[in-house]
Amino acid sequence: MPMFKPLARPLPFFALWMLITLMLGLSLQARAAEDETLAQAGALLVQKFDQRADAVALLVERDHPRTQEILRLLQDGELYYRKDDDRLFVIKSAETGAEALDLLDGSAVTIEKKRDFKKVTLNNQMRNQISQALAEIGLKAEDPKRRAAAVRELLGALNEDTVSVLRNRIGNEPVAEVRELMVLALAIQDLEKGDEATRLQAIEQLDGSLEPPVRNALTALLGSDAADQVKRQAQLALNGIDEKIRYYGMLETLYFGLSLGSVLVLAGIGLAITFGVMGVINMAHGELIMLGAYTTYVIQQLMPNHIGASILVAIPAAFMVSALVGIAIERGVIRFLYGRPLETLLATFGISLVLQQAVRSIFSPLNRSVATPDWMSGLVEINPVFSLTLSRLYIILFCLLVFVALVVVLKRTPLGLQVRAVSQNRAMARAMGVRSKWVDALTFGLGSGVAGVAGVALSQLTNVGPNLGQSYIIDSFMVVVFGGVGNLWGTLVAGLSLGVANKVLEPWAGAVLAKILVLVFIILFIQKRPRGLFPQRGRAAEG
């Protein structure tokens, strides 16, 4: 009860105080009523089957907020009572030493003796009662999604009680999607129980549905003693469904392939700038990706309570870190080696070793895991056999975003113009007043920064460790070379198609063999077309 103290305060404040107290009191009153219902039901539940049925009826009738939860517990056989005091407990596994949660106040108790607790068992009649009650509750829900879920649970699991509930509600259902599901549920029921004509009609209604129970029901029908005519139709419907499932399976492979391809593009696109545009072989590219991933990790450590925002902060931060390291590499080493690609390759490989060891010394050789923000996890369900994982979707979008940003930078900004000028004719560009050294450093910084951004994306997919970069460097080079050096679009197409090829091969070759096959394919491809998918032709390419 609230403590009420008359206070010498101005009137408006007092009125407010009163109002709050009143509301608190009302809500407490409601709480009290609920508690009372629960107590009554609880007292009935620990007795004989008849009383238990009354308890269920009571809960449903009073529309108690925990009705659904308790009914499910009963259904799953997870509700127990303690013999000493008849208190109800939720027990997942009835083992000595396991935990028992008090149903009323949620406090945990450790089970000392299994014999102290007894399960609240059900008889068949009660089971029907409960499933019907649950269906009704679900079907009455405000949210159409919850209603759809309720119907979906009834698919293939209807009994006489629920059938009548469904038939009652189907006319009142305002949402078409839910209504269709209801039709399906009833059709499955007809398929099992109906005569030939009903069955044929049901098959027609079920045709093309991707709900797994539909497929099961049709398969079961084929094995039953139904008439040949019915079986033929069922077979046709089943074939159609399988066809659709295969189609969505292909879509799913494509989706996985595109997301893997996006990772490849992200990893390779920085290289497409440093290698493709500048002609610098940067073997430390993988380590620049790694630095981006570690930057993400560090930023998450700095703001542990804002995981969702930390990723957004990490993107520019990783870009800056990798870009600065890249510029340092360019100024410190690579600029002395222009025109000597093989030496550049060796020197940058040395740098990659140093960066790896540096990370190992600073962060320990163990992998670090970066948390995935909530808004990135989850599914977008297109239909029962095909859903898109959000994280993959974000990777694809992110990849496209980075790609478009790069194309815009190179095609639409003064820096991009200068970069292209220097890469096409250094001497002429310098004669026109372009500070080619400055452009070199910035271009390299841009490519490196993009590698860092790729690292942010990778940190969401794999563990962050010192070897992260190494495992991507060969893939990155393959993507750039396959696409045609100096061609951003080529990199995009090459990365995505290699990703898809990998995922298409995976089911029958296994992940490792698929990767080997793709590598071998690229090796052979480069023999045939040394300049990649989209070669640069003409005079500039000769030489």
């Binding site: 060796l346 060891q357 060969i474 063999l513 590598l519 023999q527």
Partner: protein, 362 residues
């Protein structure tokens, strides 16, 4: 004789062969005759370590042949080395016979473990030393030939070639990690017992392997030297420095490259075959791209296109590696990475280049 001629102007080579000769005579004597505990005694462990270094030096010579003289920066020579090693490892596995953990007279332990009932076809014949020895040459040679024929004919060169050689060894590494390949998967081949009937743990066998390694290095060196002082050697340099000029003079550049590349791969295979019995294990890690690149650095540190420079580089860096990884493991990768950068920036002609310059100015 042409061998003499090949060495006539080759001071480095003369010194190298002289040192090898001294080692072959002195090391066994110091190991077997000088009692343990004496200051001059060479422990068997050191003998084996030196033998291992010599095989790595042979690998470096093979890389120098293609990189130094032909300008092909191969980042996949470890693949040929490892293939030679696996061929030898397969022979050694079959020599174990029924002394394995499972005591199967025919199948190596890992196959019994995988529940295989018969030897895969590609393991047949490896119970014979001559066959294994032939495969040590043929398998790397054939791979290099096929790969080179494809690559050189379509004129893949420069960094593209480097990258696809790297992809080649990477693909092989992934493949050998697979148990289904039949080469012991992750663990590779190990627990060898004897070679040609000699116990691999015995001092005498170890000395024998050391001498064989020294001999292989000497012969490999001479072979490369003879090749490179011939007109072929000059054609190689011509191809390296002005490929299209050589082509317009009528040379089939791709055949030159292919021939030398294949010989080099075979040398690498021999090196791998001698390496494996001395370290006692071969596993897919040997294929790792890092290994191949490390070899290139040995050559760069020693000095390109000299052959003996490759030997010097291999010995110096591997000694340093043994020292650092034992004493200061944290430092090793920093040192190696720094070395890559320093050598390419400051020492384009390597250690031996420094020595030669001093000699020339003196």
């Amino acid at each position: 004789m042409f061998l003499m001629e090949a060495l006539k102007k080759d001071r480095g080579g003369q010194v190298l062969l002289g040192v090898l000769l001294v080692l072959v005579i002195a090391v066994p004597l110091l190991n077997l005759l000088v009692p343990e505990g004496h200051a001059l005694h060479v422990p068997t462990y050191t003998v084996t370590l030196m033998g291992k270094y010599l095989t790595l030096a042979l690998l470096a010579v093979a890389v120098d042949l293609v990189w130094g003289y032909l300008g092909i920066l191969t980042l996949g020579h470890a693949a040929f080395f490892a293939l030679g090693g696996y061929a030898m490892g397969m022979y050694l596995m079959r020599q174990i016979g029924d002394r394995g953990v499972y005591g199967n007279p025919l199948l190596p332990d890992f196959m019994v473990f995988l529940n295989w009932d018969e030897l895969p076809w590609f393991w047949l014949g490896f119970d014979q030393f001559w066959f294994a020895a032939l495969m040590v040459l043929l398998v790397p040679g054939l791979l290099a030939f096929v790969f080179g024929a494809l690559a050189f004919r379509s004129r893949v060169s420069g960094v593209y070639l480097s990258i696809i050689t790297q992809a080649l060894t990477y693909a092989l590494m992934l493949a050998f990690y697979r148990n289904e390949m039949g080469f012991g998967g992750n663990n590779g081949l190990t627990d060898f017992k004897d070679i040609l009937g000699f116990d691999l743990q015995a001092d005498a066998t170890r000395i024998g392997l050391f001498i064989a390694s020294a001999l292989a290095l000497a012969l490999g060196y001479l072979l490369c030297r003879v090749l490179m002082v011939s007109r072929l050697g000059r054609v190689c340099v011509a191809v390296r420095d002005a490929e299209s000029r050589a082509r317009f003079l009528g040379y089939r550049v791709e055949n030159v490259k292919l021939g030398v590349f294949t010989v080099s791969a075979m040398l690498a295979g021999v090196a791998g075959a001698l390496y494996v019995p001395q370290v006692g294990i071969i596993n897919p890690n040997e294929f790792s791209p890092l290994n191949s690149i490390e070899v290139v650095v040995w050559v760069a540190v020693g000095g390109r296109a000299t052959l003996y420079g490759a030997v010097v580089g291999a010995l110096v860096i591997n000694y340093a590696k043994s020292y650092f990884t034992a004493e200061l493991p944290e430092i090793w990768l920093f040192a190696l990475g720094g070395l890559f950068v320093l050598v390419t920036l400051l020492l384009p002609r390597g250690i031996t280049g420094l020595l030669r310059r001093k000699e020339a100015s003196a």
